[in-house]
């Protein structure tokens, strides 16, 4: 089986200025993969490169074994929530339905199966009763769930999500988490940019850590080593100190 992502020597950025350098890693299919790194480390840039929204300056990206243009119908992309104007006059259903759009049906009538998949996706994120509401009337967490519904409606194989947990309350967070577990059972692959280190190791089973360069990629059990987190965040994080102290304490206990 092809890897979900196979990235070699990827250098990418904006206006000729690279932001991420020489990344090489693979993500196998069927994992929930966390992309971890500090602000400005290039996580969104990496996701945009994978989606072909910016062109790599160097290197190659294979998605499900092909170039992105050949497999777009099998990929669902969730951009950061701030990337759109939530006052736009469309309903929750209208946005979720965009998950069904593709170059070959955008200028045609949609099928009933498209409508059914959209309603099913809205039900999964508990927004069915809001389906006719303008998106501007939703809370931040509900808006995030609209974006996730749009991705689910796509019935894709690979989901690429940029900070779906940003600004959602704990109820929504656990609802999304439940969806992730379902997706894993259905053998889907999910690549998620995530900020909260406290929860990252509970949520994901595969990790890509970057800070402009690749620090680590691989299974969770190896990712847990504090040295990778240090390199990624350059120290100075309270959470890291806690992890380190805990580690030291454990060593002390083991010694005594």
């Amino acid at each position: 089986m092809n890897d979900a992502l196979n990235i070699t020597n990827l250098t990418a950025g904006y206006l000729g200025r690279p932001v991420i350098f020489d990344l090489c890693f693979t993500v196998p299919q069927g994992v929930i993969c966390g992309v971890i790194g500090p602000n400005g480390s290039g996580k969104s840039t990496l996701l945009k490169s994978i989606m072909g929204l910016i062109h790599p300056m160097q290197g190659t990206i294979q998605v499900l074994g092909h170039s992105i243009d050949q497999v777009r119908s099998k990929i669902a992309y969730v951009p950061q929530r701030e990337s759109v104007d939530w006052n736009f006059p469309v309903s929750v259903y209208d946005v979720a339905l965009m998950g069904r759009y593709a170059p070959d049906n955008i200028f045609k009538r949609l099928k009933n199966s498209d409508k059914e998949a959209t309603l099913k996706a809205l039900e999964k994120v508990h927004l069915l009763e809001y389906k006719d509401k303008p998106i501007g009337q939703l809370s931040g967490g509900q808006q995030q769930r609209v974006f996730i519904a749009r991705a689910l409606a796509r019935e894709a194989e690979l989901y690429i999500m940029d900070e779906p947990f940003a600004g959602v309350d704990s109820v929504t967070e656990s609802a999304i988490l439940k969806l992730l577990k379902e997706m894993k059972q259905e053998k889907k692959t999910v690549v998620i940019v995530h900020h909260d280190l406290q929860t990252a190791f509970d949520y994901f089973d595969y990790f890509v850590m970057i800070n402009r360069k690749l620090i680590f990629s691989g299974q969770k059990k190896e990712a847990l080593q504090p040295q990778y987190l240090f390199e990624t965040y350059g120290g100075g994080l309270p959470a890291l100190d806690r992890i380190r102290t805990a580690g030291n304490a454990r060593e002390e206990i083991a010694k005594s």
Binding site: L53, R72, S73, Y77, V84, P89, V95, M98, Y101, P103
Partner: protein, 278 residues
């Protein structure tokens, strides 16, 4: 006056124009490109005058093509300048718009000096003269309106997706560049079509005011579309009737004044959820 055939042609022509302008205007407004109408309307002047000079008469399609070409070119030029230079959008627009408009006025002055230039009433381009619409013009308007409505209907899902979230549109592989080109073409078509009736300076009001007014009272694009159409029909009806009763009054400014008054009323009855657009 509703018995007079001449008035009826003028009335029908303005109504068709209102329908086209508002249908396209909703999407131009939603893409935050409200000033593009102004860039195009001012920049079509040189093209229209050249079209006139080539034919020596007011041939509808030659004027239309001339205006379409320079108007469209100016809009694309503006977008290119914004993309590749350090200039801000408003500066780029101001530069392109004034240069094309200046050139247009120079050509217009030359054309009016020509023996056949004067009676053509080319200066009506500036402020608009709906009363000059003939039954032939109305026929052309009907064709253009049908085309514009058909294209918008055909591409509506794509236009909405690109306007709401163009990054996502690219991510799912939609031809975003071509969809934007289509919208620019439709806008240029509506503007060039309306310029004889409403004038260079104020045609963009017929594009944007209905969209803005409808946005204040609607929560969906479908609502916006129908309200915008109603508003623009009221505007154009008000403009033609008043300028018919007082023949010295130019149509364009009256249409805008009527639109302005409608906006005030709509503002008072606005939906609270649309606060952002105040």
């Amino acid at each position: 006056m509703f018995q007079e055939p001449n008035f009826l042609w003028v009335f029908a022509g303005s109504a068709l124009l209102a329908i086209s302008a508002s249908r396209v205007g909703v999407f131009v407004f939603l893409q935050n490109k409200s000033l593009s109408g102004d860039v195009i309307s001012h920049s079509l002047l040189p093209g229209m005058v050249i079209g006139y000079l080539l034919s020596g008469e007011k041939n509808f399609w030659l004027l239309f093509m001339g205006g379409f070409i320079t108007g469209y070119f100016a809009q694309i030029l503006t977008e290119k300048i914004i993309k590749i230079s350090f200039l801000k959008a408003d500066v780029a627009m101001a530069v392109v718009l004034t240069m094309f408009y200046g050139l247009g006025v120079v050509l217009l002055t030359v054309a009016e000096k020509l023996p056949y230039g004067n009676q053509a009433g080319l200066s009506a381009f500036l402020l608009g003269k709906a009363a000059a619409l003939t039954n032939l013009d109305v026929g052309m308007y009907a064709v253009l309106t049908a085309l514009i409505l058909a294209f918008v209907k055909w591409s509506e899902k794509a236009l909405i997706t690109v306007s709401f979230d163009s990054t996502y549109a690219k991510a799912i592989g939609l031809p975003v560049g071509r969809i934007n080109t289509l919208l620019t073409s439709l806008l240029t078509g509506a503007v060039v079509m309306g310029v004889q009736a409403v004038g260079v300076v104020l045609i963009s009001a017929l594009i944007i005011l209905p969209a803005l007014g409808s946005r204040l009272i609607s929560a969906s694009i479908r609502q916006m579309t129908s309200y915008a159409m109603a508003i623009s029909l009221l505007m154009s009806a008000g403009g033609t009737v008043i300028s018919y009763i007082y023949p010295k009054m130019p149509t364009g400014p009256i249409i805008v004044v009527v639109g302005g008054m409608l906006l005030i009323v709509l503002y008072l009855f606005r939906k609270k959820t649309n606060e952002k657009y105040e």
